[in-house]
């Protein structure tokens, strides 16, 4: 069995000296966040909005360290001006892992529009976007992206597809019981 992508991400953060990890949680990021939170060599930073991750990552680089930013796809919308104005203008490295919603098997219609907008939005900002759907692809893209970001001053987003994470099931994940109200 392939190494789960969350384990590979944590291993590759260590290998590439990523010292700060900023995140706004997503169910698909749970294992990776937990492994960063319990790692004494990683400063794990819970953020109030994904935009903070762009400042955090750029500030870490100013101080000589590498950072990674983790978010759900809906959070991408909160990062746009910071990426364009700070990362692009100054050619700061940026490495983001985005767990996707609004994609394969989505059951919340409110997730669909932003989920579908992620790729064109990030590409319009000039970012390198790697869409992955298996653990192997994810590990490969995370390693490639970390090199591109920090050695080539690139802005990279690895999008972890819903096919890999599994579409959220309200019945299994959120509630003991689901009651649909009459409209």
């Amino acid at each position: 069995m392939a190494e789960p992508w969350t384990k590979a991400a944590h291993r590759l953060f260590k290998k590439h000296n990523v010292r700060t990890v900023g995140y706004v949680p997503d169910a698909g990021l749970t294992e990776l966040i937990n492994s960063c939170n319990t790692d004494n060599d990683i400063k794990s930073v819970v953020m109030t909005t994904e935009e903070e991750g762009i400042g955090l990552s750029s500030g870490a680089w100013l101080g000589g360290e590498k950072a990674a930013v983790l978010m759900q796809s809906s959070g991408v919308g909160n990062t746009v001006n910071a990426i364009a104005s700070i990362v692009t203008s100054c050619q700061f490295p940026l490495f983001m892992i985005v767990t996707m919603r609004g994609q394969y098997g989505e059951s919340n219609p409110w997730q669909m529009p932003m989920g579908q907008a992620v790729v064109p939005v990030l590409k319009s900002l000039g970012m390198h976007v790697f869409e992955v759907e298996t653990d192997e692809e994810a590990a490969e893209a995370i390693e490639a992206g970390l090199k591109m970001a920090f050695v080539s001053n690139a802005a990279v987003a690895v999008l972890i597809g819903q096919k890999l994470i599994g579409a959220k099931s309200f019945i299994a994940d959120v509630a003991e019981e689901v009651i649909n109200v009459e409209n």
Partner: protein, 199 residues
Amino acid sequence: MSKTRLNRSDVLDKLMKVRGNALAIAGLGSPVWDLAASDHQPENFYNWGGMGCAVSMGLGCALAQPKRNVWVITGDGEALMGVGSFATVANQRPDNLAIIILDNEHYGETGMQKTHTSGGTDLAAMAAGAGIPTTMTVYNDEDLSKLTNALKSAPLPLVASVKIENTKPKLVLPSRDGVYIKNRFRQAVLGSTAAMHVT
């Protein structure tokens, strides 16, 4: 809704006297011109854009450079846009980060429209509510002395809202080239070799 009291360039000059070797990150707008006027040097990072990110940038830098103090010098409008970062900073508790807000209660770059602080919003109280251990509002010279003392000896992180006159600052402009500003800062902090070769 306080009366603004202090002159911004006097405030900067007094702060810079106690700066020591603190790294400085200026939020976009007048704080950039203020910092360039008072203490232009390679260990200043000037934000010409990215409104709302000065505090989170300061946090990233402070976590990466735990042995250096990091001062974020920004405006009230810029701080309000990223005000959630007070909570993020408070959760991390970096003991080397100070956030100094030059609060003229107006958006200075866009036509002097009032900000929320002119309508009763209290940035120091918001920071205290977020969990920042040292917070203060500075109205006069006596308060400013308290701030300069706090910068030397109070528990950090610190957030200070410094009430300044609503006057136009001198336009003292540093380079607008973000790549240059970034690399110059990194060279000054890390040395040329570490700044340009990634490990």
